[in-house]
Symmetry: C2
Subunit: 188 residues, 2 copies
């Protein structure tokens, strides 16, 4: 498990073994069963979650009572509600396990202390945040800007790993198309 963290962190910044040990010692390890919530709407998100294995989704309930999925995340991805986490305000969305999921939890206050003792961790999280931003912008491209058919093709191209594991009806919700139309697109 520490190896997975070390490999992941070292992709972006060169940390010494001692530094990895220090970071690792501040992380909490937790397993969520399928359908269990990492974060519920209305809670203040105090953590950033690193997925060791499993699959989660972020979603909220719109004013018509429909679930809207805004993000999927799987192994080696980070997930949080950024606005709630940064601003200490209640989260408008929930994070729920789609499969049994094990995460490492980075507590915000612990992370602030780590930033002080290992300043280059700031670099790591700057890069991670840039990558989150790019993922969201790319999702916007898929979601906002395209016809349903193109959205589906975009999703399959950019997120092939999700397409294999996420239930079809959730993909349909994410792409804002009907499950029936998704089946039709898949047959083609």
């Amino acid at each position: 498990m520490k190896e997975q963290i070390k490999k992941h962190f070292s992709r972006y910044v060169a940390f010494s073994d001692l530094e990895i040990d220090e970071i690792y010692s501040k992380l909490t390890h937790k397993t969520f069963e399928k359908k269990e919530f990492l974060l519920k709407e209305g809670e203040i998100c105090k953590s950033n979650y690193f997925l060791l294995y499993g699959l989660v989704r972020s979603f909220y309930i719109d004013n018509k009572g429909n679930e809207k999925i805004t993000q999927f995340a799987l192994e080696n991805w980070w997930v949080t509600n950024m606005e709630s986490y940064i601003k200490n305000i209640p989260s408008y969305s929930s994070i729920q396990a789609i499969e049994k999921t094990t995460v490492l939890i980075v507590d915000k206050l612990e992370l602030e202390k780590l930033f002080k003792s290992i300043p280059k961790l700031e670099r790591f999280f700057r890069i991670i945040t840039e990558n989150m931003l790019i993922a969201i912008l790319r999702r916007n491209d898929i979601y906002l800007l395209m016809r349903s058919k193109d959205r589906y093709d975009g999703f399959m191209k950019h997120f092939p790993l999700f397409a294999q594991r996420v239930p079809q009806y959730m993909i349909a919700s994410y792409l804002e198309i009907t499950p029936e139309y998704l089946s039709e697109l898949r047959r083609k």
Copy 2:
């Protein structure tokens, strides 16, 4: 001008005057006339732009030939095409001045050097990137998730400064509603 930078940078991280001098010495100062492009679609974006004064928009042309506005930015905001900037790939969008605009240009390679000499600058850009992420997520809320009327109200609430200065037809494009419907909403 250096005062504006100092004030802005000091909002997030405590820099010494010497550090501000060093950062400032690496920034290029440039004025764009109304309608001039900071970045054109297809170019590789090598800079992050800090707006000293003025107003810009990011937009792209969709596959039907329509302009789609994805972002506005004004004084003390940062603007770039993040994916192009990070990944060194051609930008799918353009950045254009709506008003005469003066920016400080942070060159990516210079910034990497600055990160080495002033590591806490990483912290600054981590925070800036988090704020960009939050702004985009909030825009998604406005844009994706709401009826036209709620989109307009959300835009007015979260971005009142833009609402005053951005031409109406651009706000309509940003909100994906017709200019006629926007006028109707404004009258109410």
